[in-house]
Symmetry: C2
Subunit: 138 residues, 2 copies
């Protein structure tokens, strides 16, 4: 199955965007785009989702190793937020030493498609952005 994002014809694309912007939530108080960015737009959420999506489940320190550079504190904080948002499930096993497994919920899995789209765009256009920055700076 393929997922259709949008028709690439410029004027049709513009039409889709207009409809999005006409959505009642926009202009008023809360906007869905803002909302989702407030949750996954931080420094670590997306990388955690990416890694959890690649495996059935991961333990705390396994995840810590995979998400290079994250501090223990930020891993804990970010995981708690993702759990609160219903994107991640946390399972504690009453063992010694303790074992805690994290896995994506169905809601979390539903995000991975979007994440992949974002990642593909990023990898494809990072060189163009770098070139633009160099041009702008020079």
């Amino acid at each position: 199955m393929n997922i259709t994002i949008a028709d690439p014809q410029p004027h049709t694309m513009a039409q889709v965007l207009k409809e999005i912007l006409l959505f009642p939530a926009n202009g008023a108080g809360i906007c869905p785009v803002r909302d989702v960015l407030d949750r996954i737009g931080d420094k670590w959420s997306l990388l955690i989702i990416l890694n959890l999506g690649a495996e059935e489940n991961l333990r705390f320190n396994e995840l810590r190793r995979r998400v290079a550079g994250i501090s223990q504190r930020m891993l804990t904080v970010t995981l708690r937020n993702l759990e609160a948002d219903g994107l991640v499930d946390r399972t504690v096993y009453a063992e010694v030493p303790p074992r805690v497994e994290y896995r994506l919920t169905d809601l979390g899995h539903s995000l991975t498609g979007v994440v992949i789209g974002l990642t593909n765009w990023a990898t494809a256009h990072t060189p163009a952005i770098a070139a633009a920055r160099a041009r702008f700076a020079g």
Copy 2:
């Protein structure tokens, strides 16, 4: 034309994510995902791109009105960054009073597909997230 994001079968999705994570940039210094988030993951970039994508071009104060709540400073700052990244084009007309038009570049337009995907996910699952938060808090 349709854009294929991914096969929705869980194990295949996991495979796609694994390949993404194996990409040389990850684990090393710079990661494309992190890179794109550093640029459009802030408070206003995505909303500006959304609005510019809906029109041919927009003047500074037109944009200011549409992006509800943005301060003059942040509109300027964000537009400069988007311009530096090659996502937005800025055209100054030597008139009095001055007129400045902003429009998406081709690179900017290429992002709108991703943005639409993100927005669709957001609008579809915002209620589920809200419910999860309520559950978590209670």
